[in-house]
Amino acid sequence: MTEIPTAPSETPAINRRRSPFGDAAIRVFGRLWRRRYVHLTALGYIVLLVLFWREFLSIPSGQALSNWSPPNETHPFGVNALGQDMLKLSLAGGAKSMTVALVGAALGVGAGILASWLVVISGRRIIGFWSLTRISHWGTFTPAFSVLVLIAVGLRPGFWLLAVLLAGVIFIATVARIARWFEDLELRGDTIAGTVLGFTSIQVVNRNHLPVVIRRGIALSCSLVPGLVLGETALSFIGLGLVDGSWGKLIADGREVVFEAPWLLIYPGLVASLSLFALASLGWMARRSMNGELPPRVF
């Protein structure tokens, strides 16, 4: 009788399969690196800014009211009425806006992936995908900014509540797209092969679909961040978003004294515009690198 060879207790390193999630992460950064290393640098800069903004940017506290001063060699963006340096204020405001937008985008896309994953796992795919698609379809003709203002009137959101509100907008805007990714992956040959080989539905979804969807989800989040930053800036501008030191608040303060001290309006807006354009080009490049689709309309 022929003995069936048993697998060795330890798989040789050459045959060891990498983690699908690790593989996806390596692909993300590999593609970014190949396409535009400048964007990778910008991404690293933004991550550092977001994580350590408190340490890097010590905002000068409001001293006794003194006269503002226009831009000079010591303060290239000028000084406001409280004696605070506008350059530092603009950078710190950007870090706050970007942080809330990053958290909102990650939460929204994450919730979309979770909802679609639950639909696939539960087996009710037709009705589940249809429901998720309808949610996004109804979101396409909702004036999201007015709805956000309506909620913010009562809630007066802080950092986390604002991030959750923005995540809700992102969820509604992206969930149909994410559900479509799962639907497309269901029809691929490797999914059918996995089913024929005897893998369960959950195994196929977790090992085959999820890494691809997460990879695309990261790219989608990157492309949504600038829109969310713009939305948060607009909310802060009218006094309903982050009220202390975000870009919108700085621009609103500058608007009050625009004819007397125009630098208080010009420089925060300039920093916001340049940063938003940099973020947008990073997002578009990330989306192209991941071979994704167009970002949906948000606000």
């Binding site: 996004s136 379809h137 109804w138 396409t140 003709f141 909702t142 004036p143 999201a144 900014f145 007015s146 709805v147 203002v149 309506l150 909620i151 913010a152 009137v153 009562g154 809630l155 149909a176 600038p226 713009l230 939305g231 800036t233 607009a234 501008f237 009218i238 006094g239 309903l240 870009w247 621009i251 500058g254 608007r255 625009v258 004819f259 125009p262 309006l265 010009i266 807006g269 916001a272 515009s273 938003l276 354009f277 947008a280 167009l294 309309r297 948000v298 606000f299």
Partner: protein, 286 residues
């Protein structure tokens, strides 16, 4: 044809009713959070006749801005989208639409504040829209301020619209098999683009004219408040700042109505131009 138009109109009415219900629920939620004893169904009692007359005046002022803005966006967005798709391989032509791409990420409310500064410093005008009017002709000053706001908003919205046209529709058309085979057979690029790709994309291009409208309406509200322009946006923002969800509700309903109306128009045009859309199960594939 008539059946299609009536069906889409019915769906638009259902959408509007559903949107009013959703917005009403959110308003009631905000009133509850603010500990206000008022109810959303007692909304008619919150405004007297003078305030309602003021609201209708503000609506006309905002529609003036929107008409200027959206006409510009549709015409220039489609034109630049088509041109950028046709000359997508030309690096020099990128300089032509790059300003619109940059403008789409500049906060419009910041730009209108700069415009107020420019009006005062460069033109000797009073700056913001609520300053003393230098033009004595009735109505002309309103159109001047409306066009200023409309053009600034349009500059940003064109950046989004042309990308939607180029990326969403025309790029897909260029990747079809028969287009590639026409290219391989030696047909001229311009012939392939204008005779096939653009011709096939035109019905779908008309279906995306409403894509950027909700975002533009949001930015319109903030920009009107920034420019102190007496429109619906100022009404919305002032209402929000004073803790009056009813004012926000009323404005949000008008904005929703505008979006649903433009979406209906886009669906009608798309359906009239494309028979497959008219007879298919779902008229618009988002």
């Amino acid at each position: 044809m008539i059946r299609f138009l009536v069906r889409r109109t019915g769906i638009a009415i259902v959408r509007l009713i559903a949107m009013v219900l959703v917005l009403g629920t959110l308003t009631q939620f905000s009133l509850w959070l603010l500990d206000e004893p008022r109810q959303v169904w007692q909304l008619a009692g919150s405004f007297d006749s003078a305030e309602l007359a003021d609201f209708s005046k503000r609506s006309i002022a905002s529609f003036r801005v929107l008409a200027i803005c959206w006409t510009t966006v549709v015409i220039f967005g489609l034109m630049i989208g088509i041109l950028s798709a046709r000359f997508r391989q030309s690096r020099g032509m990128k300089l032509f639409w790059m300003p619109f791409m940059v403008a789409s990420w500049v906060p419009a409310f910041w730009l209108v504040c700069l415009a107020a500064l420019w009006l005062l410093e460069g033109w000797g005008h009073p700056g913001f829209a609520d300053g003393e009017a230098p033009v004595r002709v009735e109505g002309l000053n309103q159109w001047w301020h409306a066009s200023l706001l409309g053009v600034i908003l349009a500059a940003g919205a064109i950046g989004f619209q042309y990308r939607i046209c180029r990326e969403g529709i025309i790029r897909r058309g260029t990747q079809q098999e028969f287009i590639r085979s026409s290219f391989m057979r030696g047909h001229r690029r311009s012939t392939i683009f204008y005779d096939h790709i653009l011709k096939n994309s035109m019905p779908a291009l008309t279906g995306v004219i409403d894509r950027g409208l909700p975002a533009t309406l949001g930015m319109l509200a903030v920009s009107e408040w920034a420019f102190r322009y007496p429109g619906l946006g100022q009404f919305l923002v002032e209402g929000a700042r004073l803790g009056m969800p009813e004012a926000v509700f009323l404005t949000a309903v008008v904005f929703s109505g505008v979006v649903i109306l433009v979406t209906l128009l886009a669906e009608w045009i798309h359906g009239i131009l494309d028979r497959r859309i008219r007879t298919g199960p779902y008229p618009i594939h988002y």
